[in-house]
């Protein structure tokens, strides 16, 4: 038995050695993460974007545990709005792992362990892929390490945790290779099913990676047609029948998401990216392709040293340290591989060269895409010509901006993963070529040299940053308290990838939501409907708190916070109480050592809240809701902002415009009943049919005329006690600037709402 194991171990000695090496490097590079997992203090939270992943996966995990659709809507965050997970970065790929880890570990620990696992797996799957390409152990190991420990990860492990699932790219290619090179039809079918499932898994892991893989597959296909025309067409024809199988498998595995997305799209438009500024900000600078990670100890030391030498070097240092949103360095070994190829291309066998060209071209195209819509060089993205005319240098990414589905990509620099993937394969071919020309005795030395270069260039250390303290006892108190209601934590944040309101780093509220399990005001997700921002900002209580706790959008570890501009509440107590009642804000947690704390605490006492507990630097205030009813809305009043939830204009001469595809109105009643909804409205420009939903249940469709008229809808027993959401889904909307002459109004108008009552 021992002998058999020994023999096996001897056969797989390279694989075992590589696994050990990868494990060791994963631990060393990410030591701080491992340390946090082991020495985890549940009373603190690291202040990074990881909390979003943790919140989403925890919610999905719990839903799935109760056999619910994990992507179903929730009101846990962004109260009183519903949040659909389908169009967030679902991170659902973590959920299967959570079934193993969550019973033993906290969600934070489990998530961090998954990250380490992802990194190690990325290396190993890449190694297998390169071995599949018949590359030597040496070349495969180097290629896999270059890929698996890409400098790009050094930034992503700090919060964008789903970007560590890099193993999907080599896995897809590996399975694809298995399909194309297998003679057994049964196995090919099985692989096709698996392939579809992995595509779905990739979508669940990271939509950006999914798009990257789609583009990568297209590039491989086109490059293969260019370099292996006959063979590529032959292969395509021979395997065409398997495509539907993979697609079907993909759709089956994606079914929960499709159902949830469909429900969302019934009442909403696809999230759209407005403007070009965000992709421009989050795209790589041309120089970023050459600037390494600030988390590499050597490079960090060099730039720290030179930053004081002169102003030019200081600027370079600032550029180096401001890499986060535009990082694009693929690693020196990939860059050098391209240089070696250029000089040695005539010596490389032609068939190998053809393969290499496919990977090189694909990698370069991804590098160009990562540069975003307009070329930037040292943060300069235009030149000014006379008459102050800026000249931009558009890049191919701009074309994606006009293609449906691809137009949601707002962070082009993340395409660098594609460059690293194809670049690593290309580099492995180069090292294979070099090792083929080396004598055996020199091979080991060369391997060690390359390994050393890799370690020097691609090592990163996760910084040890002080976490924020959490009022965990307060959260648990709320969780155990019998009264329902919403929790407002001060400071709070309402934030997505584009904008924020409140304290930009107050994402601890997400952790609070996971513990106390009450709905919260605010939240941090990758995409939030801008109408929610508008609603919050217009509220006299939450809107004002959001303003006075705002310390600016600063980098927590590099920039100082601005002093918040603290001022008294402007609205009357009556108005504030109306808002608190409608939103059921029963609990308010206030951090009591901030500039704004006193004003807020005094106002809470004035409004009838009572301090019920102290928890370190936090105080909990409680006030039981009076169960007031809000069933009569006059849209022309300024105060109706509280009920005009989503997609409404400001009041205009007795009405508000309903905008876009749908609008949401909030009403509150203290008993479930079968009252009718009466509303007075007029359609804009042309009559239209609208669909009305109450708490996500379709009530009826009615025809609305262009003249002001009263309409009545039966609630059919769907009216709940408490807050109710009425969605008006329009079939038509028009821009006055288009349908009316001499009109510059560019809003997308659907209907005029005058009043709404429950009777």
């Amino acid at each position: 038995m021992l002998k058999a194991i020994k023999e096996k171990a001897l056969i797989f000695r390279y694989e075992i050695a590589f696994t050990l090496l990868v494990s060791l490097l994963t631990i060393v590079f990410n030591f701080q993460i491992l340390r946090n997992v082991i020495l985890y203090d549940s009373m603190t939270i690291p202040i990074d974007d990881g909390v979003v992943t943790e919140f989403l996966t925890e919610t999905e995990y719990k839903s799935l545990s109760h056999f619910n659709n994990p992507f179903a809507t929730t009101t846990k965050v962004l109260y009183p709005f519903e949040t659909n997970f389908a169009f967030q970065d679902t991170s659902f790929i973590n959920v299967p792992f959570l079934f193993v880890l969550r019973p033993l570990l906290d969600i934070h620990q489990a998530t961090q362990l998954i990250v380490l696992f992802n990194i190690a797996l990325g290396n190993l799957v890449m190694y297998l892929l390169l071995r599949r390409f018949k590359l030597s152990n040496f070349a495969s190991m180097i290629g896999a390490l270059i890929y698996g420990f890409s400098p790009y990860l050094s930034y992503r492990v700090l919060g964008h945790l789903t970007y560590t699932a890099t193993y999907f790219f080599p896995l897809l290619m590996l399975i694809g290779h298995s399909i194309l090179n297998n003679n057994s039809n049964r196995q090919r079918v099985l692989f096709s099913i698996f392939w579809g499932a992995v595509w779905a898994g990739l979508y669940y892991a990271n939509p950006y990676y999914f798009i990257t893989a789609v583009i990568g597959s297209l590039l491989l296909f086109v490059c293969s047609l260019v370099y292996f025309k006959k063979r590529a067409i032959g292969t395509m024809v021979a395997n065409l029948g398997l495509v539907p199988i993979s697609i079907l498998s993909f759709l089956v595995f994606l079914l929960p998401w499709i159902l949830s997305a469909n429900e969302y799209l019934m009442r909403n438009r696809l999230p759209e990216l407005k403007g070009i500024v965000r992709p421009l900000t989050l795209s790589s600078d041309l120089m970023n392709l050459l600037f390494p990670s600030e988390f590499n100890p050597l490079y960090n030391y060099i730039f720290d040293t030179i930053s004081n030498k002169n102003s030019l070097l200081a600027k370079l240092s600032v550029f180096f340290e401001g890499n986060w949103g535009r990082f694009g360095y693929p690693g020196i070994l990939i860059l050098v591989s391209f240089v070696i190829y250029f000089f040695a291309r005539k010596k490389i066998p032609s068939i190998t060269k053809q393969y290499m060209k496919v990977f090189a071209v694909s990698g370069i195209i991804f590098a160009i895409l990562s540069l975003g819509p307009l070329l930037k060089v040292f943060n300069k993205w235009y030149i000014i010509l006379p008459e102050e005319i800026p000249i931009y240098f558009p890049l191919p990414f701009l074309a994606l901006h006009f293609i449906p589905f691809f137009d949601i990509i707002s962070a082009p620099s993340r395409f660098i993963t594609g460059t690293v993937f194809f670049g690593s394969i290309f580099a492995a071919f180069i090292f294979q070529f070099i090792s083929d020309h080396l004598k055996k005795e020199k091979l080991l030395k060369f391997f060690i040299l390359v390994l050393l270069i890799f370690i020097v260039d691609q090592t990163y250390f996760v910084p040890n940053r002080a976490p924020a303290e959490l009022p965990v006892e307060t959260y648990q108190y709320i969780n155990n308290h019998q009264t329902g209601g919403t929790v407002l934590e001060v400071p709070f944040v309402l934030r997505d990838g584009l904008q924020y309101m409140g304290d930009v780093h107050a994402q601890q509220i997400m952790r609070g939501a996971m513990i106390h399990e009450h709905p919260i005001i605010g939240g941090y997700l990758s995409r939030i409907d801008s109408a929610i921002f508008d609603y919050y900002r217009a509220l006299p209580f939450i809107g004002h708190i959001g303003k006075i706790i705002d310390k600016g959008n600063f980098h927590l570890y590099k920039e100082p916070a601005k002093t918040p501009s603290v001022s008294q509440f402007l609205a009357s107590n009556e108005m504030l109480l109306e808002e608190i009642e409608l939103l059921d804000i029963n609990y308010v947690i206030v951090k009591n050592d901030e500039l704004y704390s006193q004003i807020i605490q005094e106002k809470l006492i004035e409004l009838g809240f009572k301090s019920v507990m102290e928890d370190g630097s936090h105080s909990l205030y409680f006030r039981r809701s009076k169960d007031l009813e809000f069933t009569n809305i006059s849209f022309g009043d300024k105060e109706s902002a509280l009920f005009a939830g989503r997609n409404f204009s400001a009041p205009e001469r007795g009405f508000r415009w309903g905008l876009g595809k749908s609008s949401t109105v909030f009403i509150k009643t203290n008993k479930a009943s079968s009252q009718d909804i009466n509303f007075e409205a007029a359609s804009f420009h042309l009559p239209q049919e609208i669909s009305i939903y109450l708490n996500d249940v379709f009530l009826d469709g009615i025809d609305v005329e262009t003249k002001r008229k009263q309409y009545t809808i039966k609630t059919k027993g769907n009216l709940n006690s408490g807050l109710n959401r009425i969605d008006f889904v329009y079939s038509k909307s028009f821009k006055p600037s288009i349908v009316l002459t001499n009109n510059l109004d560019n809003r997308d108008l659907a209907m005029q709402f005058y009043s709404l009552t429950l009777e």
């Binding site: 070009i276 307009l374 010509l385 005319i389 931009y392």
Partner: protein
């Protein structure tokens, strides 16, 4: 039958010449030739810009007749400044020599225009024949070139009719390169030099186009046929060198004039793109013909307007950006592109490739700095980010000399020239082996296309204009030196105006009475000259009073407008005496005429005579000397030339080049004294009336300096220029001046 064709073939040149003459009389009969019999200048029926150009040409001619350098400075308009006639495309004055003794200036000018087109026909014909193009194709293409569509909109810019310089320059240049006979090469070299120089003298744009085309050919051959190029250069370097020498010799007067211009003038700076964005062609404007086409204008003007409004709104009212090259070129270039898809055709048509390349170069340049498609010059990616497509023209903006091209649309002339040569190759290739019947049919079809597509309207006569000829004659009889001011007057160039925008005809009077006038109209006016009028206490008041659009005139500071509503009599009298304004002609039809007349009478002018609706007012200027420039005086502009900053404290800062004007009543030797402060030692060279009187070293310790004027002062206004060798840290100013005066040497 054979005999007839042989007969025609032997005497083809006469038939060709007859053909060219026939079309010249047909197309230009009423436009130019008729002027021999009915001189429009007698009733003032001349377009305003033509009048200006004709006036400049006449000045050029007069300078030659007087034995002076025509490229020098001459008094005429914009008094007290002088104008450099030679740099205003007035070179046609050369051809006035045989004509002016017999014809009026305008008639001479019209004859030159008509002959220019004939020359263009002949030159193009000979050039194409040199390229082995058949007589028939050469004839029709030469005809089409001579009456190019571009000229349809240029009847107010007649110096653009000098298109003959293109074929003749290239004809001579080509002969120089291919001829085996030394004597032919010498003559060709001389010819190329003459036409090169002529392009510079008659139309600066055409000169630039020739330079760009030479550069484009060099790029083509350096890229495609480097070896061939070097062999030719090696073979012909002596001939080329000789041609360059010819050019330098011919340009000596011009170079001298330019040197003086650079030294004593402030070169007008183009603001931004100088309008190049608006004056560049739209990608699709190449397909929109002109409303000045004879048949469109006379038979279908409404239909044309409707079509353009509906489908090509970007071409509405196209003038500077009018670039339609004609159907012959459009069809020819499409055929060229189709033929080039097939390798066989491509090889056979290789000789046309360099011309096609240069055609494309000019096509692209014509599009200006930023691409416009259907009138859209960019795409908004965001509220603030407008994506524009920069074109190669942008590079020209940063190259000295070429930066002066502010109307890319005009480059279409070179595009048309090279396109016609390309198209000639295409037609030649297509009909080469065809039957004579086909060739005749082809010829007939092309001729019809040419006539209907390229005949421009020639019956647009400007309205008659009344001029006070009797008043001019009266002034002309006065032998003493004085200045004439016409009310209204203008100070106008291609960008801005001051005064009455339309009052461009003051130069007509100047041609009669020969006395310098106040105001004027020319291509570009230096900023300091405009500022002189704009800030002058007398001229500034009048200029604003006579501007009916003063509230919208962009150069007028609206906040200061109220300050100019009254006239400071004392200051005005100083200006009148300094500028020797003896005669003022008032056009009484203007609403401000009464007020202005009363003001003038209040200043001491007396009505001398009337001529129709015009009055002549006269006041003999006082024989005063103006020998001091005290920079502490608030409104000193009357005595300042170029290079002065606004008053600061008791001084004004002088720029690296600065000038003042002082007036003497009699010639005598005097000493120039001035008080100035400098930050660090620097030298200043001083010229009086453009003649150097010496150099002084200025130091921070001293402030008062004296220098003898070496008897260079003349009676009347004298210009004194200061040239500093360095400037202050601000990169602009050189010294603080407090005082300048002329002292009698004794």
């Amino acid at each position: 039958m054979i005999k007839i064709s042989e007969y025609i073939d032997k005497r083809s040149i006469w038939f060709v010449l007859f053909g060219f003459l026939f079309f010249s009389f047909w197309f230009n009969g009423s436009l130019f030739w008729s002027q021999i019999f009915f001189d429009s200048s007698t009733n003032g029926s001349i377009w305003g810009e033509v009048r200006v150009y004709e006036w400049l040409t006449n000045k050029f001619y007069e300078a030659i007749v007087a034995g002076q350098n025509p490229f020098g400075f001459y008094t005429g308009m914009l008094y007290p400044f002088r104008l450099q006639i030679g740099l205003t495309d007035a070179g046609n004055g050369l051809f006035y020599l045989p004509l002016r003794p017999f014809f009026s200036s305008y008639t001479s000018f019209s004859i030159i225009m008509a002959l220019s087109q004939l020359m263009a026909n002949i030159g193009m014909y000979l050039l194409l024949r040199k390229f082995q193009i058949s007589k028939m194709v050469s004839f029709i293409i030469a005809l089409a070139f001579g009456y190019m569509t571009f000229l349809a909109v240029r009847q107010g810019h007649l110096n653009y009719f000098m298109i003959y310089v293109f074929p003749w320059f290239y004809l001579c240049g080509y002969s120089l390169l291919i001829s085996k006979e030394a004597s032919t090469r010498i003559v060709s070299g001389l010819g190329a030099a003459v036409f090169f120089a002529l392009s510079l003298w008659t139309n600066f744009y055409y000169f630039i186009m020739i330079v760009i085309s030479i550069g484009a050919f060099l790029i083509y051959y350096l890229t495609i046929a480097k070896k061939q190029l070097f062999i030719k250069l090696k073979e012909r370097w002596l001939d080329l060198l000789r041609t360059v020498l010819f050019i330098i010799l011919l340009l000596i007067p011009w170079i001298k004039g330019v040197y003086e211009g650079i030294k004593f003038e402030s070169i007008p700076r183009l603001p931004g793109w100088g309008g190049a964005i608006d004056f560049s062609a739209d990608l699709f404007s190449f397909l929109v013909p002109s409303g000045y086409n004879h048949y469109i204008n006379n038979y279908y003007p409404d239909l044309y307007e409707k079509i353009v409004k509906t489908y090509a709104h970007f071409a509405e009212g196209a003038f500077e950006n009018f670039v339609y090259p004609g159907l012959i070129i459009l069809i020819g270039l499409v055929l060229y592109s189709i033929l080039h898809l097939k390798k066989g055709h491509r090889v056979k048509m290789k000789p046309s490739q360099p011309f096609f390349f240069v055609t494309i170069v000019f096509f692209v340049l014509t599009l200006g700095p930023f691409l416009h498609v259907f009138g859209r010059g960019g795409y908004y990616l965001d509220d603030t980010i407008k994506l524009v497509i920069p074109m190669p023209y942008v590079l020209l903006h940063f190259i000295p000399l070429f930066e002066n091209i502010r109307v890319p649309g005009r480059l279409v002339v070179a595009f048309i020239f090279f396109a016609y040569i390309t198209v000639a190759y295409v037609f030649e290739y297509l009909i080469r082996k065809r039957s004579s019947f086909f060739r005749s049919l082809f010829f007939g079809a092309l001729l019809l296309v040419f006539i209907f597509d390229q005949r421009y309207v020639s019956n647009l006569t400007p309205p008659d204009v009344d001029y006070p000829y009797k008043i001019y004659e009266t002034i002309a009889k006065d032998p003493s030196f004085s200045t004439v001011m016409e009310i209204p007057f203008t100070v106008r160039d291609g960008f801005t105006y001051f005064g009455d925008e339309d009052a461009v005809s003051g130069i007509v009077g100047e041609s009669y009475h020969g006395k310098p006038i106040i105001g004027g109209y020319t291509g570009r006016i230096a900023d300091y000259k405009r500022a002189y009028y704009y800030r002058n206490p007398f001229l500034g008041y009048l200029g604003r009073a006579m501007d009916s659009n003063v509230s919208k005139n962009p150069i007028i500071d609206q906040k200061e407008l109220s300050k100019w509503s009254t006239l400071d009599k004392q200051s005005a009298l100083l200006v009148i005496d300094f500028l020797d304004i003896k005669y003022v002609i008032v056009d009484n039809k203007e609403i401000y005429s009464d007020t202005v007349s009363k003001t003038l009478i209040d200043l001491g002018f007396k009505e001398m005579m009337t001529d129709g609706r015009f009055s002549l007012l006269m006041r003999p200027p006082k024989n005063r000397e103006f020998l001091k420039v005290d920079f502490d005086t608030p409104n000193l502009v009357t005595y300042l030339g170029m290079g002065w900053q606004e008053k600061e404290g008791q001084f004004r800062l002088a720029e690296k080049k600065a000038s003042v004007m002082m007036k003497l009543t009699k010639k005598r030797d005097m000493t120039l004294r001035f008080i100035t402060h400098v930050e660090r030692p620097k030298s200043v060279s001083i010229d009086v009336n453009k003649k150097n009187i010496g150099q002084l070293l200025l130091t921070p310790k001293n402030s008062s300096y004296k220098i003898d004027t070496n008897n260079k002062l003349n009676p009347g206004i004298n210009e004194i220029h200061f040239f500093f060798d360095s400037v202050n840290d601000d990169g602009l100013t050189a010294a603080e001046f407090e005082f300048i005066e002329l002292l009698d040497s004794k």
